[in-house]
Symmetry: C2
């Protein structure tokens, strides 16, 4: 499967864009004209530079305001086209994108447009070039791919074809099945982009909000299945206009782009098996049973304090690594692995100091197949030297440079706890009834949120929930969740837009992006709260005003509200059920724990987030401290 | 005139918000319920805290999903209202905002809603409270202030009134004249917000894009004139939801807010002279004849190099300050003041070192009246010790802490050049035909763009042009222009969103926000270019690819294109005329000069911006340098 990306999708100058694109594994690149124009090399040199990077120019674009022009504009437009044909031949590409005319001077009429394209096709043919016509969603007369296709059909010239762009078709909610009957040889290239569903002016939406297939809400898969059904086997090419991407790292955006196309191709292959598109084979998305463990790296000096904290939460020391300074604390199905090794990755210099939940183990159907899929999708493998008798656990780099391990029950990995660890008989802790990890919360720059959303959803049998804006007192945090149908995998991802927000501070001042909190599940929050209190656990103090409002809002029994308030338990209710949340204060500057009980409820208490954030802020900045 | 602002408009906790609001001069504050709920003090203490800041609670808000509920929801809603009434009495406010119901459970019907409000009014009256009804633009049944007013009219209760919000009315393009016939005593409070004109979902627009009156594109003045015509003389209260403001400084946003209301009031007073609204008197907006001078602060060591550069641009030394180390270079009407004093503000420690265009002098109709208006609108005055025989020039702090001086021709300020300076006979430079300052370009964080837009437009007879996005290779720079009708004042303002853009680097690495470049006007760009070249001036090198495209795009004569290319002159053309631009490389890391010729053209060559930026970047980062 040939993949390509338009230079306009990335930040930087042309040379650095090409480097990033080549490194991410693309086969081709669309040269966006302005990227060439601002560059100092000649077209011939630019072409050579592209080929030196092992890339092909999939498309030169855009040529604007062409069809339907009255004279004398028409003649000048053809002259302009000839100049661009010169340039394309110098550069070494045979395909140009002509987007539908938006000029107020343009005249309508399919036959007029078809005649213009026939002539352009003739001129292109003399030079062995090809012209692709794309309907912009805001084109003056042509803004629907069905009309563009009719123009191409009537132009009836071998060198004139259609260019389909998922954004333009899907933004206008045009039935994608209209694509299935187009002859594949008339589709010159496929451009792909997704976008979040926000109802707004199409041009503004397109110019600022596009993202990679799978990162947004448009049915790009349905679009691509229709394309594949024609027998199309050419380039899948990304054309993404996005403010965030323009400000981000060209390398990271390129990796995401390549991943999005491979994942899209893989989905098409599984749903339209007879396609001509040569999609690379890879293992299927992996089912996830749950989070097998969370590994913390801790300085020796901080370990006693941290262990004392998790003991108050009802965890007991369950196992000790046979050769390494690694201990497992357990409660129910939850395993917290405490790593105080001074060698190895867990304490390598590129992680900041202090306590950090730097790794998670995912219990999947087939760990090594999952790892192969991750690598096929461009993830970076992670391996450490393994001592004799130890099992090498497959792993990749995840959010903020943290590690994602894969385990399963069927392979040798299922016995890792028995093989590498010795059990410890620890009777000092009383269980608080915590049974499993309900969810983990990862915090990152908003820039990275889409990256990790795509990472998880392309790798695992999981879906994303709609984006929620959480109003932090100092700004907005964008929150989105990856979860599986069983609810056994739940990862909430918080993207901080500025460093004044609590999430932003977590990134800037403490750990860098990573796991900011862990939520454990209980079946009886009040019993758990009693056990915790008896053990000396101090919960995060919530404003009393919250409880007065809660009682009025849900019409709660005052005795019930009193119980919530006594334990600083947050509450939510929706049509599905009830939700209870209890927080620890932050530990070592940023990390904290949550305990939840779900009574049918499936959300994450978004309405309570501001109360949690305000309480954490208050904990971090007592009122008598001076303020900025 | 009583001004107020909703706590939701600002970032921070309640106490810091109140501090900022009080400091900016507001009389009242709307308590947004969540700001209270996350706060740990009781309602009584919060009320006291507000009053301790010298503020009044203008409104408690919002009370949601009230009218039209079927039983048993209706009873619960009234219970909920009684709880909020308790809270309001504790807090010490008599007015609550009820926004129109958005619940799917709500039933329609004006009479049903009116009956609910009559009952609520009865309950409120028992406690001497008042209820204001506001139509949300996305309310389920009521989304138009005319319907909300009909509900209030039918409720027919002294304690039930209307709340008008400019956003909700103007977003739906409702005729504001419908407000003029509402009895003033039934308008309980006026909420004000503006917004940029972007066609999108109303709720999304409202939640993310609102800004201060005068900062956006809505006809808020027309709205306010209609309100004033009723005889309304109560609070003007800001309710602004804006992602940027939430991440910004509460103090700066509060100052902007107060300024926006005072300016709005002032405009209403001048257009509806018989109003009851007690708007404070201030001098009118000032006409501007032009930019009288730009003052540079320069280290002694860099001064010779800088003076050599401006000499190649055709400036000659024209005057020297009688007592200070300050020199004036002149060409046509352009005065560049070079300040190498080591004492005084120009070189005070809070300005960064190097060369900085830190001050501008505006030639206005009446300098001291302009200064009074600026102070009335909350600007910070600037004064330096004045020696005997010197004239004190009125000034305020401007963008990035730079200084804006005011001069005029009528007062003693008109003779300042003669009084304080000695002429110098300098024959060493040849004039390059530069006649005046065409425009100055100020660069700032995007956060501050609206601040300075409001500053200039509220103070001077000038208007703003629509926002333009400039695609820097590393992100987006938002650009907006303040200009007067004569074209003698033109300030382009560039807001950088991230520090990777060229504008962002200017702010982060060199001067802080301020004047990034100066554009001089010539009547003959080619003659000017010849003189400059003869004097050794090296212009900023533009990519040859630019000229090939230019020729094709505009159908230019190849000889003409060659002349442009030979001098690195950028070119643009629109229906009004032609535009020529020539740039210097950057000086001392960031600042640069531009020379322009206008042949009827009124814009700023936005299409050329990416070429200028790419060329400057190349100048700053030669191709053989390693890249990130």
């Amino acid at each position: 499967m040939k993949t390509s990306i338009a230079t306009v999708s990335l930040s930087g100058d042309l040379r650095s864009k090409l480097e990033a694109i080549a490194k991410a594994g693309f086969d081709g690149v669309e040269i966006f004209e302005n990227d060439f124009l601002v560059f100092d090399e000649s077209p011939r040199q630019v072409g050579q530079m592209v080929r030196d990077h092992g890339l092909e120019i999939s498309l030169f674009q855009p040529f604007r305001d062409f069809e339907g022009m009255p004279e004398p504009l028409r003649s000048r437009t053809f002259d302009r086209a000839e100049r661009k044909f010169d340039l394309m031949q110098e550069m070494g590409t045979d395909l140009v994108l002509v987007c539908s005319n938006v000029s107020p001077a343009a005249l309508g009429g399919l036959d007029r447009a078809a005649a213009d394209f026939r002539e352009l096709g003739e001129r292109a043919a003399r030079r062995d070039l090809r012209v692709g016509y794309e309907a912009l969603a805001w084109g003056r007369h042509i803004n629907d791919h069905r009309d563009a296709w009719e123009v191409v059909r009537r132009a009836d010239h071998a060198n004139v074809g259609l260019i389909l762009d998922s954004f333009h078709t899907l933004a206008r909610k045009i039935d994608v099945n209209s694509i299935r009957s187009i002859p594949k040889e008339k589709i010159f290239i496929i451009q792909l982009a997704d976008a979040p569903l926000i109802d707004m002016d199409l041009l503004y939406w397109s110019r600022h909000f596009r993202n990679m297939p799978g990162e947004g809400d448009l049915p790009v898969l349905e679009f691509m299945r229709a394309v594949a059904a024609t027998g199309y086997d050419g380039y899948l090419s990304l054309e993404i206009f996005n403010d965030q991407f323009r400000g981000g790292s060209a390398t990271a955006i390129s990796v995401d782009g390549q991943r999005s196309l491979l994942y899209l191709g893989d989905q098409v292959r599984r749903t339209e098996p007879d396609i001509a598109l040569p999609v690379p084979e890879m293992p299927p998305r992996s089912g996830v049973e749950g989070i097998a463990f969370i590994e913390f790296t801790i300085d020796e000096s901080e370990a006693p304090q941290f262990e004392a904290l998790i003991r108050t939460l009802g965890f007991r020391r369950a196992a000790r690594h046979k050769t390494k300074s690694v201990t497992v604390f357990q409660q129910g199905d939850i395993r917290l692995v405490i790593n105080t090794e001074s060698r190895g990755f867990a304490n390598s210099s590129y992680l900041v100091h202090g306590t950090s939940a730097y790794a998670m183990g995912l219990l999947v159907d087939d760990a090594r197949a999952t790892h192969r899929r991750a690598l096929a999708l461009g993830a970076e493998t992670f391996a450490q030297p393994v001592d004799e008798g130890e099992i090498e656990m497959p792993a990749v780099h995840g959010v903020g440079g943290g590690i994602v391990y894969f385990l399963d029950r069927h392979s040798d990995l299922g016995s890792i706890w028995d093989v590498e660890f010795d059990p410890v008989d620890d009777l000092s802790a009383t269980s608080a009834g915590l049974s499993s990890i309900d969810h983990i919360a990862q915090t990152m720059h908003y820039d990275e949120l889409l990256t990790w959303l795509l990472f998880y959803t392309s790798l695992l049998e999981a879906h994303k929930t709609p984006l929620v804006d959480i109003i932090d007192p100092s700004g907005i945090v964008r929150s989105q969740v990856v979860e599986n149908a069983a609810g056994s995998l739940r990862i909430t991802m918080n993207g901080a837009e500025n460093r004044n927000t609590l999430a932003g501070r977590f990134i800037a001042d403490t750990f860098g992006s990573g796991i900011q909190h862990l939520a454990f599940k209980t079946d009886d929050i009040f019993r758990t709260a009693d056990v915790l209190a008896a053990g000396g656990f101090v919960s995060l103090a919530i404003s009393p005003n919250y409880y007065d409002d809660l009682e009025a809002r849900f019409g709660l029994d005052p005795h019930f509200t009193e119980r919530l308030k006594a334990h600083n338990i947050l509450y939510d209710k929706d049509e599905r059920g009830e939700y209870f949340q209890l927080y620890s204060p932050t530990f070592s500057g940023g990390f904290f724990f949550e305990i939840v009980e779900r009574r049918g409820y499936r959300g994450y208490g978004a309405a309570n987030a501001i109360f949690r954030i305000a309480a954490l802020r208050k904990f971090l900045e007592p009122a008598d401290m001076p303020r900025a």
